[in-house]
Amino acid sequence: MKKVLAVILALTVVLGLAACAKTAAPAASTAASASAAASTSTAASASASAAASGDLTGTKDFKVAMICDSSISDGGWGAACYNAMVDACKRSGWSYEVTDSIDQSAYYESIAAYCDLGYNLIYAPGNQYTDAVLQAAEEYPDIAFALLNGAEDTPGKATNKNVSSLLPNAQQIGWIAGALAGLMTKSNTIAFIGGMELDTTLGKYKGYTEAAQFVNKDVKVLDPVYAGSFSATDKGIEFAKAMIDQGADVFFGDASAVDSGARQAIDEANKASGSVKVFDIGQPADLLGQNECVICSQVTDNSSLLTISMQAVEDGKFGGETIYGTLQNGVLSAGKMSDLVPADVQAKYLDYIDQMTKDTFMK
């Protein structure tokens, strides 16, 4: 009797997991090392997501699937990429599905599961999916793969020419934040917090430094720090506290939920000092108003890049190219500014943004 009860209890936990979990289902199926099981549980977890995210049915007979290693409710990168897909699908009339919070070991299995289910486009938002995408692209020549933040040479590596990199210009992202940071700093010390040392993160840091030092020759940019994770809010708090101790008074980051921890610490420091003297520049959505310290945001409209990919799939012209996201084509922009940015600084900053758009900045 006890054994029967134990089995029932175990089944309850496992079935509850399959029904509820987006996090664990793909991992669990990978552990089972059975691709058929992986397909089933990935689909199950995607269905769980469907329940949480509303209407997924498009007007056309095209569908896109997104995989993501972070959560789509992280208020940062995962959420921005997911919402970009939702927007692009609404615009293009496509259906969509998502599997998030997956382990690295489940990247390929999750992609393959969606390929087997007949999805037209696989959307992988991050450089870290490159190997899994290239492997799947070789095995599924009729399916299109869009790799957000993919390297410029990745499409060329796909033998079936069915991979495109969607590449927001990291240098320009850094410029957009750096120019404002350089103008707003009073201590002439600014900071940057990264999640992982990715190529795109380094590119953003480089652009941030260049622009800040161009608009303000006296600016010192603290070396980038890395939380080693995109969800460690507590590390964001501790990094920001330590960097404020080092004199930093403007922050920018590329670390998703870690950034929200940093913003909390900045708000606390401002509250303790009685006035808002330390600022943060948000990304990748417009975060003005989320925290008192946010003075502006660097906004990336990934949905435009994805819409271009969807159109290419519909036209049968997808693949083998890098689609850039820049200030020039409107994918990148500066968000709204807070009243904490003085009018003259706002005017100067908008002038710099104009120069960046016209490609005359730092020239």
Binding site: L9, A21, A48, G75, N83, S229, I237, A285
Partner: protein, 307 residues
């Protein structure tokens, strides 16, 4: 404030949630219940604590809800391992997979997938008049949230309970030799269940602390391995309240140190600093040695009729 003072303050901040979770494991293991499901218990405690605080505006209710949900989820483990005598490691692992996934599901159903994280008002700190103005020590010991005082108090209570009270000795005897304890009339099964209630409550509080006293947002994965570090802290602390306090402070110190050193920038690659907590763990483990000092009946099911 100096580098050292800030470092120690950061160490304490990072050690407190760990301390709650490690004490949870101590109470569990002292009754022979090796519960590796702390990560899951803290994760669900973290979410429910956040949710209740978000809805009611009360961090205290959040903490209470975190404790209750921790107990509720841990009862799955308790029933399976005590009543059904199932394997403790397997059910601990099941909790680790099940509870964070449930937390993530609940969060998404309630908050959706917006590009902004919902925020709550954290529990206010309470400074003890007079004492809080002592340089450095005032901030460290007397100007914290009530939960930090509660954590210190719990350590003291734990030390006294296991070392000086008959009830505590009975509790420990269940983890050492349950059959001998039973012959003395000690209610083994009841104590094992009580240990699971305490474990669930404290681990849930540890998780809820993260979202009601530390970070004002909830993110999936915010427990960040603390459930497993807490297991190590119990071993480092040699299954004693005082030892666990030192172990948690040590882990908190190592993490705070790597963060502060990264920021201070000594011209070394940041990976070097990120290695510090792991290197320190290996070094301390080798110094402490592998000799088992824990409860002898840890992890073993108790069957009353079995010889």
């Amino acid at each position: 404030m100096s580098f050292a003072a800030n470092l120690i303050l950061a160490s304490v901040r990072m050690a407190v949630p760990l301390l709650f979770i490690a004490l949870a494991e101590l109470y569990s293991e002292r009754a022979g219940m090796v519960n590796i499901g702390l990560e899951g218990l803290a994760a669900i405690g973290s979410l429910v604590g956040f949710l209740v605080c978000f809805v009611t505006g009360s961090a205290w209710l959040g903490i209470l809800a975190g404790a209750l949900v921790g107990v509720a989820v841990n009862m799955i483990y308790a029933f399976a391992t005590i009543t059904l005598c199932a394997n403790q490691i397997v059910y601990g692992m099941a909790i680790n997979i099940f509870a964070p996934a449930l937390a993530s599901f609940i969060y998404r159903v309630y908050f959706g997938t917006g590009s902004e994280l919902s925020q709550i008002t954290l529990m206010n700190g309470i400074g003890i008049p007079g004492l809080k103005d002592i340089p450095f020590l005032g901030d460290l010991l007397f100007n914290q949230t009530p939960m930090v005082y509660l954590a210190y108090l719990l350590v003291i209570v734990t030390v006294i309970y296991f070392g000086k009270t008959r009830s505590g000795l009975n509790f420990k005897s269940v983890g050492e030799h349950p059959k001998a304890a039973a012959t003395l009339g000690i209610p083994v099964t009841k104590i094992k269940y009580v240990s699971c209630v305490l474990c669930g409550a404290l681990a849930g509080v540890g998780g809820a602390y993260l979202t009601t006293c530390y970070a004002n947002t909830y993110t999936e994965g915010n427990v960040a391995g603390r459930g497993f570090i807490a297991l190590a802290a119990v071993i480092f602390g040699r299954w004693t309240g005082g030892g666990i306090l030192l172990a948690c402070l040590f882990f908190g110190f190592c993490d705070a140190l790597q963060i502060r050193l990264q920021v201070a920038n000594f011209g070394l690659p940041y990976q070097f600093f990120q290695m510090i907590p792991y290197i320190a763990t290996v070094v301390v483990l080798s110094l402490i040695g592998a000799k088992k000092a824990g409860p002898r009946a840890g992890g073993q099911p108790y069957r009353r009729e079995e010889r």
